[in-house]
Symmetry: C2
Subunit: 425 residues, 2 copies
Amino acid sequence: MGGDSNVSGRDSSILEFFAARVDRMRSSEIRELLKLIRRDIISFAGGAPDPITFPQKDQLNEAMEYISQNYMKAFQYGITDGLPSFREELIKFMERNMGIKASLNEVLITLGSQQAIEVLGKVFINKGDKVAVGLPTYIAALQAFNLWRPRYIGVPLDFEGMRVDLLEAVVKKYRNTSKPIKFVYVIPTGQNPTGTIMPLERRKYLLELASKYNFFIIEDDPYGFITFSEDIPPRLKALDTEGRVIYISTFSKIFAPGIRIGWIVATSEVMRYLSLAIQSSTLCPPNLNQYMLEFFLKKRYLDENIIRIRKIYKEKRDAMLESMDLYMPDKVEWTRPVAGFFVFAYLPDYIDTKRLLYYALEHEKVAYVPGRGFYADGSGYNTMRLSYSLPPPDQIRDGIRRLSRVVAKAIRKEIDYRTIEEAAV
Amino acid sequence: MGGDSNVSGRDSSILEFFAARVDRMRSSEIRELLKLIRRDIISFAGGAPDPITFPQKDQLNEAMEYISQNYMKAFQYGITDGLPSFREELIKFMERNMGIKASLNEVLITLGSQQAIEVLGKVFINKGDKVAVGLPTYIAALQAFNLWRPRYIGVPLDFEGMRVDLLEAVVKKYRNTSKPIKFVYVIPTGQNPTGTIMPLERRKYLLELASKYNFFIIEDDPYGFITFSEDIPPRLKALDTEGRVIYISTFSKIFAPGIRIGWIVATSEVMRYLSLAIQSSTLCPPNLNQYMLEFFLKKRYLDENIIRIRKIYKEKRDAMLESMDLYMPDKVEWTRPVAGFFVFAYLPDYIDTKRLLYYALEHEKVAYVPGRGFYADGSGYNTMRLSYSLPPPDQIRDGIRRLSRVVAKAIRKEIDYRTIEEAAV
């Protein structure tokens, strides 16, 4: 296939002529950085779950047997909205564990929650539509929405999540314009990247605003079960009486990402559009994977696993916070997550964490994600996301010790960034 | 969740205000019709493979063991382009069975070939771009492309596939305009819906045109292995020396649709864009499913299964053609497929097959797909697609007998359509 050299050589104009909207597609900074990470580096960069939280082998073997019993259907095409028997089990799971009630046509299965985000962008964002997001917020949601050219309205976060009072101010500002705010994208529990939890009062306030000013809320909840306290407020969807919350979640963190199954809960009217969009995009989710999860839900193995998983991540969260308390210089602030995978750190504002990363990788063999990509307004250059999900507690302690040395050096302005960046090129 | 009634009742304007581009999303006519099909109806409508062609249980058990050995990776996040070890096996499979040579960065794994089609539309179609398609062509490709508002240039088919001479005429016509034809979407082997095969000379001619007039070819090849003759011309991709062919295929017909895995072969330069688009859409394909297929490729079970599958579908194809020869009225013409799942029939032009379907379902309990949806120009109202993939040979014979009675009656103008449609409402 000599074609490769041909297109890029003789006639590179073919591709320029051919491609559309590639300007709106950029690789995630996280992903590009992850490529730099070698085995000897302690990484707080990725957000991958720890494989020790994955389903247990004997339970998987039972699930395989169940798939085998449903062989004919498990290997056939499914329906776009997802396997009905699986959705029924999921509805029961949500009712007993999340206080969310839904009927069959209010639940739709997706290829991970990423497809849920992408399809919401596809169905609902017209060019220039105003979408409110946290400053900072989940980078891959911004990337998925970007394709449709929304105008982001950034709403600052504090240690209790999105500042809903500031949201109200911007909602009011745009309410009588031709383009009011269409929806708010929010991660109320274990926010990515900050790890914050929005308290109940703020949740209620957000729902009141949605009703009063007529907008939708997209509640992204991948970490809703990765919680380290008994005192977690109910999901927005569980408090929603008007069908204004479009709830999305995933099995990636409570089962395993390799299964690529997420879901959406919304009114059947919203669902009709989402379903059409998914139909032309992937036809249907894999029945095979749905049967596997159906079994884990049916047997309540997933319920049991959630209890086990919480302990694992709590230990890691503790290791990170304790080490940060011990080693991080005074001038650094960070969140104290009660849910999720992440600690978010704010450095003095003369430090650019993206430039600092090269030094950290090279001299202390430790990795993190520079916070800037999570800010829709391009700010946050002095922030970093630290994930405790993958490394074991000992490595977390060691890594934080190393990172603290890097940060201390940066605070003392002892790093010559130019030399490092030249070496990196 | 009283929200549903609320949104549709008190304030249905919320959703109207909220939704974007839903005008470009329509449910497939096929899918809507399939909902009408009850158990007692013989259906030639769907294109689902026969479950007897699915992988054998003892081989599946071995594959489960293989997944278990690769447990940690199989359940973790994968990379966007697909599992490298799986792609390596796929490359060997293509080389030994398809004469296609590719390197690792020229192969990308998708969620069925539908995602391949969708992502090609996303990356390459700007509003008003000219895209040449067969008259008729695969309906779900049109639906996926529609979202981006291309201008379709319909190229008639004959019993040997797309009329490439007519394609040349339109390519010439638009070559010096501001919008020349960007790409041709073509299904050269076992075309959907006609079942035709494009002969070697025509394939070469198409590749020459692409080079001469500078356009790309999307070769969609789900039925490339479902062939009933030793004398099948090579795939366009195997003949491509300039990297102009973007090849897409799927494991749905040679393994099972429930696994939802397809793939793309293109130059690494094209791939870079496709990969970015997929990243923000589904992150990565499921590792679990890829390990399963990797095992079947490695053990060459898939190669063996293809031989078995061909016999199964050949028998069904024979049953359909023999019955049609026997029972169909003189004034009907149809294709004689040497590959794929479909026979396409042309009725006298005063017959509307969509209207006729209600009668067929009601009075003869037989289903087909009206051909009109496959025509980008809205013609084809007198055509129908008949799939022999799912029913067993005896049912095929019985169904064709029934359908022939319906068609004969329509030809004699003995059907009162108004009465039927009123009853259906």
